[in-house]
């Protein structure tokens, strides 16, 4: 009886009749169902809602009561004063992240692996890993309070060295540095873990061979360590390109204010403000869709790039 069942199993795998395959996996389909229904309800239904971008959407009257306006909302967004500002800010924040927050974990990983002394090595890893687990709200709360002109510790240090207290949060020129340093503090240790793992995978014999050849520490880092993690670096870089437009709007929302919009307002914060706060759902959705399409293009591009560079695709 049970043997017959497994024979049936083998047959089903060879004969790919649709009906039989369905019969052999109906239990799996039941297991799949909750997740599938969730995806349809909370990921694909919103995608249908994206047609709001083509309506002068009225939240109380729904689609039936709203007028179809074609690309009017996109026109309003693209021709409006906020378009170039949001594009520029999204791009600039992404570039700051790429230039500062991307290489930092690689450096940190090298420092960790080069470190002699178990205690300090462990402490360094523990200390740098920790900030990632403090919530965005608390980290932003710390930033805002540390930078307060009257009570903030940063300004106390500046005054100690003879400078003047500055209300950093209200000046647009400080926003990107503040945001970048905050992200660096939060994520460097977390992102270093991948590189540390890659470094530990390098064949120790390579180092021994280099030692015999009389290579110094810098030479060993340059000729063995760096080439050893280049594949990981490339993969991470390509993944970052894919995520570029998705700058951390959750923390930007907490840190920006009207006086810093000129450097801080990105596409997603604009969309959020227009929709949830101003009730301009059509324009907000249009801006959001614009961003989502760019994100999709970047991911496809990143995958192509990854295929070419590492001969392995990301998916």
């Amino acid at each position: 009886m049970s043997l017959r069942k497994s024979n049936q199993e083998i047959q089903l795998r060879t004969h790919k009749s649709l009906g039989r395959r369905f019969l052999s996996s109906w239990q799996l389909l039941i297991l799949l169902a909750p997740g599938l229904i969730w995806y349809l309800m909370f990921c694909y239904k919103p995608m249908i809602g994206l047609r709001m971008a083509f309506y002068d959407y009225n939240i109380f009257r729904g689609f039936e009561g709203s007028t179809f306006v074609g690309f009017e909302n996109f026109k309003i967004y693209i021709q409006g004063p906020d378009f170039w500002r949001t594009i520029k800010n999204t791009l600039m924040i992404a570039i700051w992240q790429m230039v500062i927050c991307f290489p930092a974990p690689i450096l940190l990983a090298i420092i960790v692996t080069e470190m002699k002394g178990k205690v300090i090595k462990k402490t360094l890893q523990t200390a740098t890993f920790l900030p990632y687990f403090i919530s965005t709200v608390v980290v932003c709360g710390m930033v805002v309070n540390f930078l307060s002109p009257s009570t903030g510790i940063i300004n106390k240090f500046i005054e100690l060295f003879g400078g003047d207290a500055t209300y950093f949060m209200v000046y647009p020129q400080y926003f990107r540095p503040i945001y970048t340093i905050m992200t660096l503090w939060q994520t460097a240790g977390f992102n270093a873990v991948v590189y540390i793992a890659a470094l530990m995978g390098i064949d120790p014999e390579l180092y021994e061979a280099a030692l015999v050849d009389g290579a110094g520490r810098f030479q060993r880092i340059w000729h063995i360590t760096l080439p050893g993690i280049i594949p990981t670096v490339v993969t991470m870089f390509v993944m970052n390109i894919g995520k570029m437009v998705k700058v951390g709007y959750e923390s930007i929302l907490l840190l920006y204010q009207p006086s810093t919009y000129s450097t801080a307002d990105v596409i997603s914060t604009y969309s959020f403000r227009m929709g949830i706060q101003n009730g301009d759902y059509g324009i907000a959705t249009a801006a959001g869709l614009f961003e989502a399409v760019i994100a999709l293009i970047l991911v496809v591009f990143a995958n192509k790039l990854s295929k070419r560079l590492t001969e392995t695709s990301l998916w």
Partner: protein, 305 residues
């Protein structure tokens, strides 16, 4: 530069070079390490010492490395914050129930997708993975909750975020690593897919399940964005949303505070710092577990993309 090479046969013949350059290098790396440790921990340490100091000394910059005239008064005041304990309870509730829901939805789906036998497997996998590349965005998501009449409900928070595709894919690859012979053996014994899933695969992947559950738990506990937008009544709001009002919104309008004298035991600032410490404590307690389980998850996630 001359190198004196002397090979030591200490625990596996690791060659070692002794030279002045090497020693300088080692010491500089250590100094750099200490500086980095300081930079990572000082902000948290400062919040702690400021929270137990007299406000006057915090405001005039005398509290930098040690607390001045330590007092726990700020904590007493922080404890009395309206809705603090309600929101704390809510956070625990959302995290516990949320993670159970997360794990139910994610493991069942990941298991089904990990079986080559599943009909339309590629299509279903693509359906899930596609949401990582393209998502509808904030406004349509909000409208979806509105259409389902889920605004300001606890159900929205718990079930609206049942699956993180990233975590589900990690689970799927865990299940794929389990040898297929186990499934076949169970099949021959006449076990159903449900039993194989629940009694063979789940117990076998306990450490992986712990890792993913922890991923979910940290996100649940720390998230503020959707609870902030979806929940409007004070009694349903989790801790992070309350903290947002207390830490970020309140300090955005500077200078509402009363005059602080040497006798003042608390100020708006010291109470805020006390609240920050209170908010960090649960995470600090969980940190040893996080360290144990997280790292394997990160490396695997990076490899799977």
């Amino acid at each position: 530069m001359k190198h004196a090479v002397n090979t030591k046969d200490k625990g596996g013949s690791i060659a070692k070079i002794e030279s002045r350059g090497e020693k300088i290098f080692d010491i500089s790396v250590k100094i750099l390490g200490v500086v980095l440790i300081f930079l990572c921990l000082y902000p948290i340490y400062y919040v702690f010492i400021a929270s137990i100091s007299r406000p006057l000394y915090v405001e005039n910059g005398q509290v930098m490395f040690t607390p001045v005239l330590a007092t726990l008064e700020s904590y007493r005041e922080a404890f009395q914050t309206p809705w603090l304990w309600t929101s704390f309870g809510n956070s625990i509730f959302y995290t516990l129930c949320g993670v159970m829901v997360n794990m139910f939805f994610s493991t069942t789906m990941a298991y089904a997708l990990s079986r080559p036998r599943l009909i339309f497997r590629k299509f279903f996998t693509l359906l899930a993975v596609f949401t990582m590349w393209f998502s509808a965005g904030i406004i349509p998501m909000y409208m979806t909750f509105r259409d389902f009449n889920l605004l300001d409900t606890r159900i929205a928070i718990i079930f609206g975020f049942s699956i993180s595709t990233y975590n589900m894919i990690i689970l799927k690859s865990f299940f794929e690593q389990v040898p297929a012979s186990l499934e076949e053996a169970a099949f021959i014994d006449g076990a159903s897919d449900f039993r194989i899933f629940a009694q063979v695969y789940l117990p076998l992947s306990k450490p992986s399940l712990a890792t993913v559950a922890l991923f979910y738990a940290v996100n649940r506990w720390n998230g503020y964005f959707w609870p902030m937008n979806l929940l409007t009544s004070d009694e349903k709001v989790p801790l992070q949303v309350l903290l947002k009002k207390l830490l970020v919104d309140r300090t955005a309008n500077e200078m509402e505070s009363a005059i602080i004298t040497a006798q003042s035991l608390t100020s708006q600032t010291t109470v805020i710092y006390a609240l920050i410490i209170l908010a960090i404590i649960p995470m600090a307690i969980a940190y040893p577990f996080i360290q144990k389980y997280f790292k394997s998850g990160i490396t695997l996630g990076a490899n799977k993309g």
